[in-house]
């Protein structure tokens, strides 16, 4: 059938200030949310904005922030890496073992990164050559690397290192904690790679349409494997910092980190379908998670509830991302079937769904805050009102009519 699913030049069809607002919210929504949350926390807790607390928040974010940068590459290709926490543990254990054996510091750091890279390469190899889904492959690696750690450490933590090594995790340089500097450097390097190198451009392209990349004569498998190497290197780097900071390589180190890491990337606006996102978003996503963790501690909220709140925020972020996807051309990245002619307008359904889930999660969160009895009902309602306003606005911006 010689039929073209005509695509109206969307950018030209809509215009005016509403669109401009929509664009800003779409591109900077996560930043606005971050600022909002910070403002509310600053208002609720006098400690929040103190310099020591601020540094503390960023320092906390750097460990999984660095991994989240590697994960951003993976998710940009449309993949996922569940093994980062375990890779961190194994890299840390190797580094600790080498330190105990008296290896020089640069060699130790190089070894930790190399171990991460190797594990990542193994992931990439199995995914591209073995054609096993990233989910299953890295799930396997998650248990394998954890087991390797236990074998290597014989079940015991390795602790007590030189002050030289301890400097990485605890020292200051130019008035800033070293982990923060490492994190920021990672972000910068990653941003440059994504913008100016073949690997970076191919990463986006593979996530957008791997078939097209392959048919352009590019060995897409190689580049796909490389992003898992990046993820592994990120885990190795985090391992050095974490081990140094705790002065110990624990066998359980990094357990459950993959969730915070993936959450940071997704909250940062990188699409789980691949092809869209940035490390800057991830930076803010990582900071936002750290701020939320910190805020809940400052407000004395029962730690049992933290997962609940983070989970709901993650859901919200993914929903927002979904709306953004649907707002684009309806045919999706695979150029699937044209939307049914005369099908019910989809926007209204999406909006209904959004309202429903927004209201629902707001109620849940409100319940959590009041029930945990730390925040007064009034304060939690204000907080939710602000969040709700933002989310509603964002959702409206994402679904123009």
């Amino acid at each position: 059938m010689k039929v073209e699913e005509g695509i109206a030049p969307a950018a030209e069809a809509r215009s005016g200030r509403g669109v401009e607002l929509a664009r800003v919210l779409k591109n900077y929504g996560i930043l606005i949310a971050f600022v909002l949350v910070c403002a509310v926390l600053a208002w609720l807790s006098p400690v929040f904005l103190r310099w020591t607390n601020v540094l503390n928040v960023i320092r906390q974010s750097s460990i999984y922030g660095i991994m989240a940068i590697g994960m951003t590459f993976v998710i940009l290709t449309g993949g996922i890496d569940l093994s980062v926490g375990s890779m961190l543990a194994f890299s840390g254990a190797i580094a600790a073992g080498l330190l105990k054996a008296g290896a020089p510091l640069p060699a130790v750091i190089a070894a930790a990164l190399a171990v991460g890279a190797l594990l990542g390469l193994a992931n990439g190899f199995v995914i591209t050559v073995g054609r096993i889904t990233p989910f299953v492959t890295t799930l396997a690696m998650m248990t394998v690397a954890r087991s390797l750690t236990l074998i290597f450490c014989n079940g015991y933590p390795i602790s007590g290192f030189s002050t030289q090594f301890r400097f990485i995790g605890t020292g200051d340089f130019l008035g800033l904690p070293v982990p923060i500097l490492v994190f920021l450097a990672t972000v910068l390097v990653a941003a440059v790679i994504l913008r100016d190198t073949r690997l970076g451009r191919y990463t986006y392209a593979i996530g957008g349409n791997e078939e097209a990349v392959r048919l352009s004569g590019i060995p897409s498998g190689f580049y796909k494997a490389m992003v898992y190497v990046f993820s592994g290197v990120g885990a190795g780097l985090s391992a050095v910092i974490l081990t140094s900071r705790l002065n110990s390589a624990e066998t359980v180190a990094g357990t459950g980190y993959e969730l915070d890491v993936i959450a940071a990337v997704v909250i940062g606006g990188t699409s789980l379908n691949g092809g869209r996102g940035s490390v800057w978003g991830t930076l803010v996503g990582a900071l936002l998670i750290a701020v939320i963790n910190n805020g809940m501690v400052l407000l004395g909220i029962n730690p049992y509830y933290q997962g609940l709140v983070k989970g709901l925020i993650l859901l919200g972020a993914v929903l927002l991302d979904r709306l953004r996807d649907e707002q684009g051309c309806g045919c999706g990245k695979t150029g699937g079937p044209a939307p049914e002619w005369g099908a019910a307008p989809r926007r209204s359904r999406v909006l209904q769904f959004w309202n429903l889930s927004g209201v629902w999660s707001s109620f849940c969160t409100a319940g959590v805050f009041t029930f945990s009895g730390v925040m007064s009902t009034g304060a939690s309602c204000t907080f939710l009102f602000l969040m709700g306003c933002f989310l509603m606005k964002a959702s409206m911006a994402a679904t123009p009519w």
């Binding site: 030049p9 969307a10 690997l199 004569g217």
Partner: protein, 494 residues
């Protein structure tokens, strides 16, 4: 169906088409790819809504707003790609979503199987309702679809190329089933490219061409040659900028290219400055052959020679490094990354040539792209515009730019003008012509017969994974190419 019209942006897919179907009739629908058969059936099944025209069922006018409405009205469509769940049983597939239940919500297997046996009985087939659908043959899978339609109390069945995946004997069995159906009062609309089958199984045949109803006749009153003539006969309205060609040295030679189940012993060659048209029906294996040459599919056997020397092409990268470009059939799925910019898309093929230690020399690439975009005349506000926001013709030009920028000299175009407007078509022909004039070897796969006839220096016709005809320019007419593409000569020979 009376006066059915349907337009898509840029194309009038159906133009006041009439079609009538008597009870207990098998009515065949013939026409080239793109003649409008599928669109017409999608309107009948409620997938599309007609712009004009009416559908009357048993003397009542129906206005379907969704596929469900037509199923309820007794019209079922069996698509070429069957809609079955492979790991469920025959019975479960037939009653998917309508499983008979017992108290407590448990599935009533006994009733279900009995019902299936009752439905299958008229076919005289021994098919176990408990068999998993992926373990039975394709002919039986068709039967499962038919039984499903009957269980929905359908009395109009639309079958789209039902024998495409069947062997001769399986097809015979299916015809038997269709005759049985007719006996029980079911009417069938039978879409097929196999004209002998139409003669065999149908009562009447209607031919569509370019979205228009051309003729309806009793099959015993019309010959296959007449049908073919109705299918291809057309008024030439399009412009083909074909210049005299001056073929040079042989650039690409393919010898004995084979892949199991796809193609068999394909050999041909293309010279520099020559346009080789490849005709054939959808599914004949044309695209697959091109993919074997381009290295995006692995071949079981055969050699690819470039300038007389054997080239070791195992991946798309090898092909590109040897100067072969493939402009794929489905540009959205295979040619473009829709969410990325024009720059990103076009530069995909050349980043390896224009980067230093992995870093892209952006200015250099931008210069190249601007130049190519000018020759090709891609209409885009800027290079950072997302490809998704461009029109179909411009998207196709982005794909072309992507390969022009690479300096290849074997260009394989797979359906280069499908779904784009006439103006853009002519531009693409002109570009093809320019490439040939510059000494590139060009292969053009196309289902658009006039286009193949007008633009090619030679024409290869593919049928069933083989080249069944190779003609020089002007040696054949459209009817002859079509009859080769339909495999008529092969079947007569065997």
């Amino acid at each position: 169906m009376v006066g059915i019209s349907k337009s898509f942006p840029g194309v009038r897919a159906l133009d006041r088409v009439d079609l009538d179907l008597a009870p207990s009739e098998v009515h065949a629908l013939a026409g080239e790819n793109g003649a409008g058969k599928s669109t017409l059936m999608k309107i009948l099944s409620g997938v599309y809504r007609a712009d004009e025209g009416e559908i009357w069922l048993r003397g009542k006018k129906v206005v379907p707003s969704r596929p469900r409405d037509m199923i309820d009205a007794g019209v079922s469509v069996i698509y070429q790609e069957l809609n079955l769940v492979p790991y469920l049983s025959v019975a479960e597939n037939i009653f998917l979503g309508r499983e008979p239940r017992r108290a407590g919500g448990f599935i009533d297997w006994k009733t279900m199987r009995a019902e299936v046996r009752r439905l299958l009985e008229p076919f005289g087939l021994s098919l176990d309702p408990r068999a998993r659908v992926n373990t039975i043959g394709p002919a039986y899978q068709q039967v499962v679809e038919i039984a499903k339609a009957l269980s929905l109390k359908s009395d109009i069945l639309v079958m789209d190329e039902p024998t495409a995946a069947l062997t001769g004997r399986e097809a015979d069995r299916l015809f038997e089933v269709i005759r049985n159906l007719r006996r029980t009062g079911v009417s069938v609309i039978y879409i097929s490219h196999r004209l002998q089958e139409i003669k065999l199984v149908a009562d009447r045949v209607s031919v569509l061409r370019d979205g228009r109803h051309i003729v309806t006749a009793r099959v015993d009153e019309i010959s296959i040659d007449e049908i073919i003539r109705h299918m291809v006969g057309r008024t030439l309205t399009e412009q083909y900028p074909k210049a005299a060609s001056n073929p040079g040295q042989e650039r690409l030679r393919v010898e004995g290219l084979t892949r199991r189940g796809v193609c068999r012993d394909v050999s041909f060659s293309v010279r520099r400055g020559e346009i080789l048209g490849v005709a054939g029906l959808v599914g004949a294996g044309r695209t697959e052959i091109m993919e074997l040459i381009f290295g995006s599919r692995r071949r079981d056997g055969g050699r690819i020679l470039l300038d007389g020397r054997e080239a070791d092409i195992r991946s798309t990268r090898d092909a590109v490094r040897n100067g072969i470009a493939l402009i794929p059939e489905e540009r959205k799925r295979q040619g473009l990354v829709l969410g990325l910019s024009v720059f990103d898309n076009v530069s995909l093929t050349v980043l390896d040539l224009h980067s230093l230690a992995g870093f892209i020399r952006r200015r250099e690439v931008t210069g190249l792209i601007s130049k190519v975009a000018q020759t090709i005349r891609v209409r885009t506000p800027s290079l950072s515009q997302k490809v998704r926001n461009l029109s179909g013709g411009n998207q196709q030009k982005v794909v072309l730019s992507k390969w022009f920028i690479r300096d290849c000299d074997v260009y394989i175009f797979d359906e280069p003008t499908r779904g784009i407007d006439v103006g853009a078509k002519v531009e693409i022909y002109r570009l093809m012509q320019d490439l040939a004039a510059r000494g590139a070897a060009i292969i053009m796969v196309s289902s658009d017969l006039p286009e193949v006839m007008a633009m090619s220096d030679r024409i290869a016709v593919v049928w069933s994974g083989r080249i069944v005809g190779m003609f020089g320019r002007g040696e054949v007419n459209e009817e002859q190419v079509m009859s080769h593409a339909l495999g008529l000569h092969e079947q007569r020979a065997s």
